[in-house]
């Protein structure tokens, strides 16, 4: 399922125009992006939570050539699956 499928499915379920359903989906993910870009947390009960993890710099290697590469420190969003979703997915 992609963004467009999600918009169509939402539109049919809550009686919104395609345009407004699109706005809802964008507003939803924009809010998440905005929060994560400030390194803040997102918590949605039953779904999961997002946080930003800091990774320290390390010396990596190109697996093909064996060449050493310095990997700089970085931040990555991390998603922890909520209990309800976890159980829903495993049961199916």
């Amino acid at each position: 399922m992609n963004r467009s499928d999600l918009i169509n499915s939402l539109k049919d379920k809550v009686a919104l125009s395609r345009k407004d359903a699109g706005k809802v989906v964008d507003t939803f993910f924009d809010a998440l992006k905005e929060t994560l870009s400030k390194s803040d947390r997102v918590e949605i009960r039953g779904f999961g939570s997002f946080s930003v993890k800091n990774y320290k710099p390390y010396v990596g290697r190109n697996p093909k050539t064996g060449e050493k590469i310095n990997v700089t420190s970085k931040k990555l969003p991390f998603f922890k699956v909520g209990k309800e979703l976890k159980e829903m997915v495993d049961k199916s």
């Binding site: 809550v14 809802v24 809010a31 998440l32 803040d40 949605i44 991390f78 979703l85 829903m88 495993d90």
Partner: protein, 94 residues
């Protein structure tokens, strides 16, 4: 500040101008759609944000950390999230 459903509903209410209770219903429906899609085993891909994938884990040997007993972990399904390159750049302030 942690973002929760309340703040997301507030943004939707401001953006679309729908009543609060309707905005809450819409946001909850959106979350339910994503959840039931993942529960059916289908991945959810959101461009510029990331993708939620359902992964099948095979049976493996584990150990009870409290007692040290060997045990078999059943095969299971889990949800993973992989962030998009654009979101990653934004989080790193690029």
């Amino acid at each position: 500040m942690t973002l929760t459903k309340v703040e997301i509903v507030e943004s939707v209410h401001n953006q679309i101008g729908l009543p609060k209770n309707k905005s809450t219903e819409i946001v909850e429906t959106l979350i339910e759609i994503i959840k039931s899609t993942l529960a059916s085993g289908e991945d959810v891909l959101i461009s510029n944000f990331g993708k939620f994938c359902v992964k099948e884990k095979r049976e493996r040997k584990g150990r009870n950390p409290a007692t040290g007993d060997d045990l078999m972990l059943e095969p299971r399904k889990v949800v993973t999230f992989r962030c998009s390159g654009k979101l990653r750049d934004r989080v790193n302030g690029e």
